[in-house]
Point group: C2
Chain length 202, copies 2
DNA sequence: AGTAATGAACAGACTGGTCGGTCTAGTAAA
DNA sequence: TTTACTAGACCGACCAGTCTGTTCATTACT
């Protein structure tokens, strides 16, 4: 357990261990000592690579969310029909998270509730996702595939709806497979924006 | 500042101060010393009335959420049309939170992300709200006002959508008034479940 | 009535452990 | 020798929870 030339660099191992621990116990309950222990490194190493626990957490979440955004973009880039792009993206989100609980745990759960200052810092990250949704919705509106809704609002509603659904799946002991509800989710979300009805006044 | 006979009991004052502080700084950043200072009581008093910080937080959130649920139920009890009941409830949620940021901060933000054990304990609270929505949806399905959707799923999606919307409103510096988007929110949610379209396969 | 005893409610100093962060001392490669 | 990196002992602040009282209202007793 000494300075062997590992396949993965110390920095990477720290990031990995931190991801696991944040996922399992949340930001405040995952302490630096555990992180370095699980990563097989040391305090010195940790604070050589990162200025603080908070900064490293921020960076980690940033990196994970970027990776997810890119993955989603890749999963729809081949499709040109705006409506189908949206459907593909929804499926990709659910599929990715259902295969990577750890990722879900961090991006869905630990990104909120760590105190107002941290929450504020995490806001841009949710913005990334909302932005992705918004762009697709805008495309669909332009092409006339869906009605001209407030895409800013809708993107947030969708983000929240999906997050809550995933959150439940994460926190329940015997959750039904995420993908099982995918078709109905698509239905419900799409029905809200699709052309059929105009601006009803309920 | 001695043992004067105050209008509010010490226990109440502690709960109030805790609510304020949790709202402003989150569970982990609001320490007991601050709570007792702001409530004008003492450590002794705190630990006389509550077994621990965690238990008191749990109790507080429980109490707040109960109060909100009752308020929502009261706001729709006069209406018998299932569809209108749902619309009333949506408005009531948005209105209540927009008038009580503190409540929103606690119930929307601080109820998630405090570590897995706490998150689990908070699950039943979100269940209360989801259950309220579900009951109304069930009523609407029965009466034929909306299509027979998976009300379990839909209630969660709605809960998430509303939460996210409120979260953004809370965390932004210059948020647009919550109620401003209420009509469009109603529209989007309702369109998802209303009779117009059957089970599309997008 | 007067007063002593009891216990609930409160005050606040103190403790013990935790944990982020620092510091000194390495080690390995260039 | 210098530079990049790693190790781990150590520190100091913080903070939930404890402990030793004190106050005050009620009850018990004479």
């Amino acid at each position: 357990m000494a300075t062997r030339t590992e396949a993965r660099t110390a920095k990477e191992r720290i990031l990995d261990a931190a991801a696991s621990l944040f996922a399992r116990r949340g930001y405040y309950n995952a302490n630096v000592d555990e992180i370095i222990q699980q990563s097989g490194t040391s305090k010195g190493s940790f604070y050589f690579h990162f200025p603080s626990k908070e900064q490293m957490a921020l960076g980690l979440v940033d990196q994970l969310s970027d990776k997810l955004v890119r993955r989603l973009e890749r999963s729809i880039e081949a499709e040109s029909d705006p409506l189908k792009r949206i459907l593909l993206a929804i499926d990709a989100v659910l599929l990715t998270f259902s295969k990577q609980r750890k990722l879900a745990q961090i991006l869905i759960v630990n990104i909120v509730g760590q105190g107002k200052s941290m929450d504020r810092k995490f806001l841009p990250i949710r913005d990334k996702f909302a932005g992705l949704i918004k762009r697709e919705l805008d495309g669909a509106v332009e092409s006339g595939a869906i009605r001209p809704v407030d895409t800013n609002l809708v993107s947030r509603l969708w983000l929240g709806a999906l997050s809550e659904m995933i959150l439940r799946w994460l926190l329940q002991e015997k959750p039904r497979p995420l993908m099982e509800s995918a078709p109905e989710v698509r239905d419900l979300l799409m029905n809200g924006v699709v052309m059929s009805r105009g601006g009803e006044s309920w």
